[in-house]
């Protein structure tokens, strides 16, 4: 079969929502790229569970544009080139008509380069901002969203004078810290340190010594997964938790479990979702999740839940556009909205305006202490 025919039939299939002749006639395949290995591997099981719950929920109310959603999972925890190959297999090999991605920015960059705007791609987790590629729709929190209202609030509550910024050495860590600098300086505090570590670093002793030496009383933690766990544990074991508060924009339930409640004193997390938010929508979602997956379910957390939000966004935009084609969806996405566990979410400039919650850690886990409504993403992508 020659390539042009292959591509034509796939394109036709995705436009009409009719799958490739070899597969079942009634289903629309959605590829879900989640990390099943590597530093972010601990989010895999919960993300998968949320994706499955999302597909079942949407299918129960009629499916995506009338078709049943069929999920295809790919490992986005591999290095970008390998994750790209996995995505390619789901797209060209298995005929996926849309992609939901919950993974790091490096993989996102590779996938954007792979898809080249030919398939709708929903990117769901916390990230650094700036993604405006054609056919890409972003649900995730941006640094502006997570920090712009939160840093002034912490400044008022705890009055830190010296901030130390530490992050993983890649675009999310660097952008988050760069955005934070501006907000910190506006509160009148001083940034006394700014450092970046590779993903694989295990030993934070040197960094902790520097933090101690700098006399910082607040630390912005822009580390990912295992690094975040290791750093925060070591931070507490050196007795620093009493000397400085910590604020993280990617500290969710799994990371907290790894850190341990005893090591999480004076730790704040700013995110769009926590498992124990008290709103009716969030509680209904948590109940449905618990019912579906039982007491041994992988712990619900912000990153996994973002996968669920991604599906809701896909449903909303597809409904508004009337089709699963990038051209139509790009034109229709502005203003598409839905109401989900996070509250009301509206797409603006291919990012979302959403509520932001700040939590500290009490004896049962996260405890939401402040909510900011309808926070803008601060992004300015043109359609």
């Amino acid at each position: 079969m020659d390539r042009r025919l292959f591509l034509q039939s796939t394109a036709a299939a995705s436009v009409l929502g009719v799958a490739h002749p070899v597969f079942a006639a009634d289903a629309v395949k959605v590829a879900v790229m989640i990390p099943q290995s590597g530093p972010a591997g601990l989010f895999g099981p919960s993300a998968k569970a949320c994706a499955e719950l999302a597909a079942e929920t949407i299918n129960a109310r009629g499916g995506l544009l009338g078709q049943k959603i069929e999920l295809l999972f790919g490992d986005a925890g591999l290095a970008p080139a390998e994750a790209s190959q996995a995505a390619l297999k789901l797209w060209k090999g298995s005929g996926a008509a849309a992609v939901i991605g919950m993974h790091d920015s490096a993989v996102r960059g590779a996938l954007v380069g792979l898809f080249k705007g030919q398939v709708p791609y929903f990117y769901t987790p916390v990230y650094e901002g700036g993604e405006c590629a054609k056919g890409t729709y972003v649900n995730g929190e941006t640094p502006q969203q997570q920090l712009q209202p939160v840093i002034p609030w912490i400044a008022a509550e705890r009055k830190p004078k010296k901030w130390y910024l530490i992050g993983n050495d890649y675009i999310w860590g660097r952008n988050t810290n760069a955005a934070a600098k501006g907000y910190i300086e506006k509160t009148g505090a001083q940034v006394v340190g700014d450092e970046y570590l590779p993903f694989t670093v295990d030993n934070f002793d040197a960094s902790l010594a520097r933090i101690r030496d700098s006399g910082a009383d607040a630390v912005l933690v822009s580390l990912v997964g295992g690094a975040s766990v290791g750093f925060n544990k070591a931070f507490a074991s050196f007795g620093l938790a009493d000397k400085a508060l910590r604020l993280g924009t990617l500290i969710e339930e799994n990371t907290l479990a790894g850190i341990g409640l005893a090591n999480a004193k004076n730790l704040y997390s700013s995110a769009g979702y926590f498992a124990n938010i008290a709103t009716p929508a969030a509680q209904a979602f948590a109940a449905a999740y618990g019912k579906r997956f039982g007491p041994q379910a992988p712990a619900l957390n912000g990153l996994a839940e973002s996968t669920y939000e991604g599906f809701l966004m896909l449903e909303a935009v597809a409904r508004k556009a009337g089709a699963l084609s990038v051209a139509k969806m790009d034109a229709a996405c502005e203003g598409a909205s839905y109401s989900g566990p996070r509250g009301a979410v509206t797409m603006k400039a291919r990012h979302v305006e959403q509520d932001v919650y700040v939590a500290d850690v009490a004896d049962k886990g996260f405890r939401v202490v402040k909510t900011f409504s309808h926070v803008s993403s601060g992004q300015t992508c043109k359609a």
Partner: protein
């Protein structure tokens, strides 16, 4: 000494201790027996996973020690008998066979626990005040234990009759056999001691590191570099290697970052492998 400097000094001692701890097993296997055990790091990894297993099964954490010892000893016996012994005088083939073994061990662990990383709870998260600063109690314990282990090993090698037999065997295997020393059993037992030491190191390090199937290679390479630079078969070699490799890594890391530190270690090791593969304190 002010708090900051004391903290830096303690950190340095800690890093050198962990390096010595993880190299110890390979110093026995490679240094004494001359076996290039490329699966050394995987035995450390298995030790760490023993703690994961023990915590998963709800047993007390200390049970990880006997578990790791048992698993490593059994595996070590099998490996020595069927993989190492047939290839004794062929370092190349031993390298390859143990490389294959390392891969197999990694894949088995991946199949059981997945590729993602684990953390284990540590009991002693308290910080003990020392001088003008405070230091995690667990790390102090680890440093102390490493020193004790090193001393015990040196004592055993120098003073005990088993150590004497091992020295005879490594110095002149033919003569040792002629004198009635069962070199095969002795070699097997020495190999087992080496891999058990590696496993024990893994158990002790487990609460402090991120536990993944792939961590073995880093420990292996560090251990090899320490032995190549320091020289095989002598305590001076182990100490010298730990000092040079650990010290330069710590120094460069604190000045230029961790990546530069590791790069410097690689460069030093390449130079030694090329120009002076017998190391600083070679046996002869």
């Amino acid at each position: 000494m002010d708090g900051g400097t004391l903290l830096h000094a303690l950190n340095l001692v800690y890093e050198l201790s962990t390096l010595a701890l993880t190299t110890l097993g390979l110093a026995v296997v490679f240094g004494l027996l001359g076996v290039m055990n490329m699966a050394h790091g995987e035995f450390v990894m298995i030790g760490a996973y023993s703690v994961v297993a023990v915590q998963q099964w709800g047993l007390p954490t200390l049970a990880a020690f006997p578990l790791a010892i048992a698993v490593c000893a059994a595996l070590g016996w099998v490996v020595e008998r069927w993989l190492i012994r047939p290839l004794y005088r062929r370092p190349f083939d031993t390298l390859l066979a143990t490389w294959a073994l390392a891969m197999l061990m990694r894949k088995v662990v991946e199949a059981i626990w997945g590729k993602g990383f684990r953390n284990v709870d540590d009991a002693l998260t308290v910080a003990v005040p020392i001088g003008n600063t405070s230091y995690p109690a667990y790390r102090l314990g680890l440093i102390a234990l490493t020193i004790v282990l090193l001393a015990a090993l040196v004592f055993w090698y120098r003073r005990s009759s088993a150590g004497l037999r091992v020295r005879a065997m490594t110095g002149n295997p033919m003569l040792a056999q002629a004198l009635g020393i069962d070199t095969q059993r002795l070699a097997s037992r020495t190999f087992i001691v080496g891999v058990v030491l590696a496993g024990a190191a893994g158990v002790m390090l487990a609460p402090l590191i991120r536990i993944e199937p792939g961590i073995g290679v880093d420990y292996l390479l560090d251990a090899f570099f320490v032995l190549v630079v320091g020289g095989l078969g002598t305590l001076g070699g182990l100490a010298g290697g730990v000092g040079v490799i650990g010290g330069s890594q710590a120094l460069v890391s604190s000045l230029f970052g961790q990546t530069s530190g590791y790069a410097v270690v690689l460069v030093i090791s390449i130079l030694f492998l090329w120009l002076k593969p017998d190391g600083i304190f070679a046996r002869r």
